[in-house]
């Protein structure tokens, strides 16, 4: 890559969220014309997801306190469109030998790269609960998408359950939009928040916003309970959710009624693409997540691969912007461009602040790993394949599978359409608990292409040519 003329340097950015947009902007400013690929119809990524063209709600309605940031990202991206090669509605489904394999409208596009910047973001992190496979249960992020990009609520009386800042944010967004919010049930205890407060102070405005959401919910009479443990989402197979049974911190059992549940336990990184480039991963004890290894500036262990945003570390949208910029600078530096060391130092310092804040969030809203061992055997763990905790435990106890990939081979947990996105982390906790080993030893599911379902009818000129060449040769 070193010594290449910048206008011939082929940099591919996957993801047009805050990280990808800032990375693209930084490269363009240096004279590179990157290719930006995003699966979404419009750029913006997860938090700054845009509504369809014919919707009329104002940015303030959509993004609240983050409206100007959202606008900033959207305007920046719109201003870049002529200086980049932008491929919207295009899914990267595999990466191999310096090429990105992407599909759009059932057509293959294969793109070579000198450097690859992956900004693939995050999805909700889930812990199963009995009944979560019923119609009417949605991920917290999903319930937000319903509101943000489609102006609908997932039910008339929505129960919000889980933990993390998104829990309060989405519940208050629902409230504000006029949806029925039955309760907010947080598995983490309030005291954890108090203890984490000093770290959370590294982003005081975010902390204050969080408090405001809780106050608004309480002011509206929405019960907000902390330190709970969900026991079962109730309902019946045909009509779906009818309520939730949970236990309070004091051990009392309660049942509340509702026609929808939005649940989530903060976020998990989307790392399949990094995995396909054969990056090394390391287990993070604090969050119980496997992260691809990166250096301070986002370089992965695979040459010419860079990772930014929540896909590299769950640090939030504002950190994603910083890391997008930082990673692009690292990429430029590796290509032999002289970049300002002061700028790099300043960005690294910003990142350190966000890391501290994220550590605070992690402590205030911990992943309830201990729930995994308590899930009743009949709880579905893998929604795709409808495999229960009991079946997974059986592969550990009766078949000796003490590792995630082995347990997947025997039980099918992680083998479904979602590629383990929603079951793998809880699955590993269940395996570890059943085997009596630390969860790090249960390992992580290896990524397998395609990153998302790939249509068999995919058209590819190269594949067609390869086949007909062989046929011609043998005639």
């Amino acid at each position: 890559m070193v010594g290449r003329a910048l206008n011939t340097l082929k940099v591919v950015i996957i993801g047009a969220g805050p990280a990808g947009v800032r990375a693209a902007q930084t490269l363009v400013a240096a004279g590179v014309r990157p290719t930006v690929i995003d699966e979404g119809r419009r750029a913006g990524g997860q938090i700054y997801r845009r509504q369809p063209d014919n919707f009329t709600r104002s940015p303030e309605t959509l993004y609240g306190t983050e409206a100007s940031r959202a606008q900033g990202i959207h305007d920046t991206f719109d201003g870049l469109v002529d200086q980049i090669d932008y491929l919207p509605e295009t899914l990267v489904w595999n990466i191999s030998d310096g090429r990105v394999f992407a599909v759009s409208e059932k057509r293959e596009t294969t793109i070579e790269y000198d450097a690859l910047i992956i900004c693939s973001g995050a999805t909700d992190r889930l812990m199963p609960v009995k009944g979560w496979d019923m119609a009417g249960v949605y991920s917290l992020g999903g319930s937000q998408v319903a509101l943000k990009s489609q102006a609908v609520s997932i039910g008339q009386r929505v129960i919000f359950m889980g933990t993390g800042p998104l829990l309060y944010l989405v519940a208050s967004q629902y409230l504000k939009a006029g949806a029925g919010v039955v309760a907010v049930l947080d598995t983490s205890s309030f005291i954890k928040r108090v203890v984490a407060a000093p770290k959370l102070m590294s982003a005081p405005d975010a902390l204050i916003n969080g408090l405001k959401f809780t106050l608004a919910l309480k002011a509206a009479g929405v019960p907000v309970l902390t330190g709970i443990r969900p026991l079962e989402i109730t309902g019946d197979a045909d009509s779906g959710v009818s309520g939730l049974i949970f236990e309070t911190g004091a051990g009392e059992r309660h049942e509340i009624k509702g026609d929808a549940v939005a649940m989530g336990y903060h976020l998990r990184p989307e790392t399949q693409l990094a995995d396909l480039t054969r990056c090394e991963f390391a287990f993070d004890e604090k969050s119980h997540l496997w992260y691809p290894k990166v250096d301070e500036d986002g370089r992965a262990t695979t040459a010419n691969v860079y990772l930014a945003g929540d896909g590299a570390r769950i640090l939030g949208a504002r950190a994603a912007e910083v890391s997008g910029k930082l990673t692009a600078l690292a990429c430029l530096k590796d290509a032999g461009v002289s970049v300002s060391d002061n700028e790099i130092m300043a960005l690294r310092q910003d990142m350190a602040g966000w890391k501290r804040f994220a550590a605070g969030l992690r402590e205030a809203f911990p992943w309830p790993a201990e729930q995994a061992a308590k899930l009743p055997d009949e709880t579905v763990v893998c929604r795709c394949e409808a495999i229960t905790a009991g079946e997974l435990r059986r592969t550990v106890n009766a078949m000796g599978a003490k590792e995630a990939n082995r347990a997947k081979a025997f039980s099918r947990v992680g083998m479904g359409r979602c590629q383990g996105r929603y079951c793998a982390l809880a699955g590993a906790e269940i395996i570890a608990a059943a085997a009596g080993i630390p969860v790090s030893e249960a390992g992580r599911l290896r990524g397998q292409a395609p990153v998302k379902p790939l249509p068999i009818c995919i058209e590819d000129d190269e594949a067609a040519a390869a086949i007909s060449t062989v046929r011609e040769l043998t005639k």
Binding site: A146, V152, C384, R417
Partner: protein, 102 residues
Amino acid sequence: MAPRFYRLAETGRKVVNLTLDGQPVAALEGDTLMVALLSAHGHLRRSEFGDGPRAGFCLMGACQDCWVWTEDGERLRSCSTAVSDGLNIRTNPPEVSWSDVL
């Protein structure tokens, strides 16, 4: 069956007509197929493994729980497909086996 999703705003859009299991459904332009279907109906499909109806989960193209069938045996991921006039959707695989139609 009661609808699952409720519209909170943006209701002044143009109507788009589709069919779900033979019944007419009036959607709005700009709806995803999922929102269109669940604003009229309680679920999208049935789990292949017998544990009841499903109505999607993530709305962001990650969980793959929201795939529906078209009348002519195609598969659509409803949360990331925009509605269009005349779509003919089924919550169950088509009666003529999907594999019979060449």
